[in-house]
Symmetry: C2
Subunit: 248 residues, 2 copies
C-alpha cells in the first residue's frame, strides 16, 4: 500500500484521492483541538475557510459556537480560540462548533473529496492507526493513504511531519512511501524520545511560546491519550461511535 505525505495545505501537488483514506494533521493546533473537543462531548465541528463563512453558517446552526484563530490568536467576536484548553466539557458538551483556522481547515478542504477524511494529532495517532487497520481488514476498495500535513501558511512544518511519521511507523514497514513519507518516518524515529523538545524548537513552537501558549505546546505533544477518530461526514467532523465503527 502506498502512503503519501503532503507538506502543507497549499501543496502545489495533489495525488489522486480516489480509493484513498485522507488523514489531516494539524498538531498546532486544529486537529489536536478537534480531538479534544470531541472527547469532551462536542457534537460536531463544522470546518469553514473564512470568518465570513463562519458567521454566515451560524445563522442556520442555532446554538453553535464560533471558533478559530488567525495568526494563532482568537478571532474578535468568536466564542472560542484554538487552544484545546478552551474546549472543556462545560463549554462544548452537546454543542456544534463552527471552526475556521489558518491551516487546518484549509487542509481539510483540500482533501474533502477523498473517500474518507480523518483527523489525526499526537493525541490520537494510535486510534487512527487502529481505525485504518480495522477498515482495511473488511474493505478491499482502499489502495492508499494520503496524509496531508496542514503546515504553516503553505510551508512545511516539523510538528505535522513528525506526527505523520509516527502514524507511518505504526502502520508498519510494508508500505511504499513517497519521499516526504520517508523523511517523516526518519524524523519521527530520530525524535520519538524527545517529541516535546523537538516541537519547542520549531517555528510554531517558538511562536506559540512567544504568545504564552506553552501549555498548549506541551498538551499537543502528548501521544495517544484520546481514543478518538474524528471523521468528516456530510461536511461535519464527528465521532459517532455507533455509526462509524460499523463503517470501519
Amino acid at each position: 500500500m502506498l502512503i503519501e505525505v503532503l507538506p502543507s495545505a497549499g501543496s502545489p501537488w495533489m495525488p489522486s484521492l480516489n480509493y484513498k483514506i485522507a488523514v489531516v494533521v494539524d498538531v498546532f493546533r486544529a486537529t489536536s483541538t478537534m480531538v479534544t473537543a470531541l472527547a469532551n462531548g462536542c457534537q460536531a465541528i463544522i470546518p469553514v475557510l473564512t470568518t465570513e463563512e463562519a458567521l454566515e453558517r451560524r445563522k442556520t446552526e442555532k446554538g453553535a459556537l464560533l471558533a478559530g484563530e488567525r495568526k494563532a490568536l482568537p478571532i474578535e467576536g468568536f466564542d472560542l480560540g484554538n487552544s484545546p484548553f478552551e474546549y472543556t466539557p462545560e463549554v462544548v458538551g452537546g454543542k456544534k462548533i463552527i471552526m475556521t483556522t489558518t491551516n487546518g481547515t484549509r487542509a481539510i478542504q483540500a482533501v474533502a473529496n477523498a473517500q474518507h477524511v480523518w483527523m489525526a494529532s499526537f493525541l490520537n495517532t494510535e486510534s487512527i492507526a487502529q481505525a485504518i487497520f480495522k477498515y482495511l481488514e473488511s474493505n478491499q476498495n482502499i489502495d492508499g493513504i494520503v496524509i496531508i500535513c496542514a503546515g504553516t501558511e503553505d510551508r512545511f512544518d516539523v510538528p505535522d511531519t513528525l506526527c505523520a511519521g509516527m502514524l507511518i511507523n505504526r502502520l508498519g514497514n510494508a508500505a511504499e512511501l513517497n519521499d516526504l513519507g520517508l523523511a517523516a518516518s526518519m524524523l519521527y524515529n530520530m525524535s520519538k524520545e524527545n517529541i516535546l523538545k523537538t516541537l519547542q524548537e520549531t517555528e510554531q513552537g517558538r511562536y506559540l511560546h512567544s504568545l504564552g501558549f506553552d501549555r498548549d505546546v506541551t498538551f499537543c505533544s502528548q501521544t495517544n491519550i484520546l481514543p478518538i477518530v474524528p471523521i468528516l461526514r456530510d461536511g461535519e467532523i464527528v465521532w459517532d461511535t455507533n455509526g462509524d465503527i460499523k463503517d470501519y
Copy 2:
C-alpha cells in the same frame, strides 16, 4: 543569520530574496551535472525552461550544445541528456550549454532575482560553504541564505533536502532555521554515514535505477569532490575563478 529551505521549485511560499544568497540544489541531477560540466571545462550553462526556448536560444548561441531531460530521459534531437557522465572534457570543453530540466532550471528561475544565485550538489557542498564564509567576511549586505531544493515535479524530495542539510550543518549552529531547514539538518545527521543508501531508497533513486542510471546515483552521492562554485551571472551559470573569487 536566517537560513530558509524551500521544498521544491513550485513552492507556493517564497521568502523575500532581497539581501539573500540563494543556493539551488538539484542532486538528481541538474546541479550535479552543472558542477561536473564546469569542472570539465564547459564555458557556461544557460538555463531555460522549455525545449522551445532552448531551440530558440541556440539560434543566437553559435556552437552551443542543447542539453536536458524530461522524465529523466534525454530530449529528442538534443545533444546531451542530464547524466553527468555525458559531460566529458572532450564533449563540453570550451562550449556553452543550453539546458532545460524538469525541476532544476525551474528552481533557478524561481530565485533568479536574488542578489546571488549559486548551485550546490553533494559534489561541491564544501566549496559553496567556503564561498559563503568568504563572502560574508567581506560583505555586510547579506542577511540570509535561501536554499531552494528543486524537488521532483513540485514535490519535496529527500536527495535535495539531505544536501541542504549537509550545507546547513557545515555553516554551523549559529543560524536560525525555518522548519524545513531544521528537518534537513536532522535528516542529514541521521544519514551522513549512508548517503548513497539513503538516496537509493528515494523515489528519484528508485526511478533512476529503473532506467539503468545506477552509476549516476552513485556519482551524485559523492561529497566534496569538485571545488566548483557555479554562479548565475547575466542569465548564464559560470565558474569564473578570476572574476568571481574577487566577488566573494
